[in-house]
Symmetry: C2
Subunit: 145 residues, 2 copies
């Protein structure tokens, strides 16, 4: 079974709401409305619309609890992040992904454990790494770099 939810079709605004629901596990619209207030100046209506759209994209499931709905995610935060990241990197030139990741490492606040983990993966990867990665910008030898 392939991914039921396509996280790449969540908009930035929708993503903000998802973060709240991922963090809390589940939430009613009023909880979401309350929590989003700290970050965004949206009206209740706006939040409800976004929640509804997330439901229609199958990113959220609802369960009725009396008069209100409890929203819970249909995709994990981790899976969603993976999809987004993959989508973005798929747009980039193969040859340039490496330096982009390097920049990311440089610019991101990483824990000691994160770093050690990366070091382990890299050490292992080095053993079979190619001398160069081919560019795939244009078909044929005509490519960029």
């Amino acid at each position: 079974m392939t991914a039921v939810v396509d996280a790449t079709e969540m908009t930035t605004s929708e993503w903000e709401l998802m973060r709240i629901i991922w963090t809390k596990g589940k939430a009613s619209s009023s909880e979401v409305i309350d929590l989003i207030k700290a970050k965004k100046d949206w009206t209740e209506s706006t939040v409800k619309t976004l929640l509804r759209r997330l439901v229609s994209k199958s990113a959220l499931t609802t369960v009725k609890d009396g008069r209100r709905f409890i929203y819970s995610p249909n995709i994990t935060e981790s899976d969603a992040m993976d999809q987004m990241t993959a989508e973005m990197f798929s747009r980039m030139c193969n040859m340039k992904k490496g330096s982009e990741i390097t920049k990311l490492i440089r610019d991101t606040n990483l824990s000691q454990a994160d770093i050690k983990q990366m070091q382990a993966v890299l050490a292992n990867k080095l053993r079979t790494a190619p001398k160069v990665v081919e560019c795939n910008c244009l078909p044929g030898k005509d490519s960029c770099c």
Copy 2:
């Protein structure tokens, strides 16, 4: 002077065209139309519309060459990639960025030089890395992890 072009407002389709122009340095609309055919089944009209929108977003500059235009990028591929990456990572929980980068390392085809570069950066970073990175999903201690 801040970034004149906001690459995060380029759509996926527009990005495809940018890649061609980045790779070639500059190109006429007919060159772009020809080259995109290998990847996308767009009509000439569609490509022209997208080029025009890129010009209106200041992502491309045109110089007239006889009857036609030569398009060239107003932002480097590298800067655009940086902006996109930064935008995406800004949406993620601080605490989870590390493992996301680790996955990226695992899933990306990297050259030996790329890997060594990352290793250097990481070794250096480890010396001042925090034990843990705080989650920033919700305001206050109420955060996720």
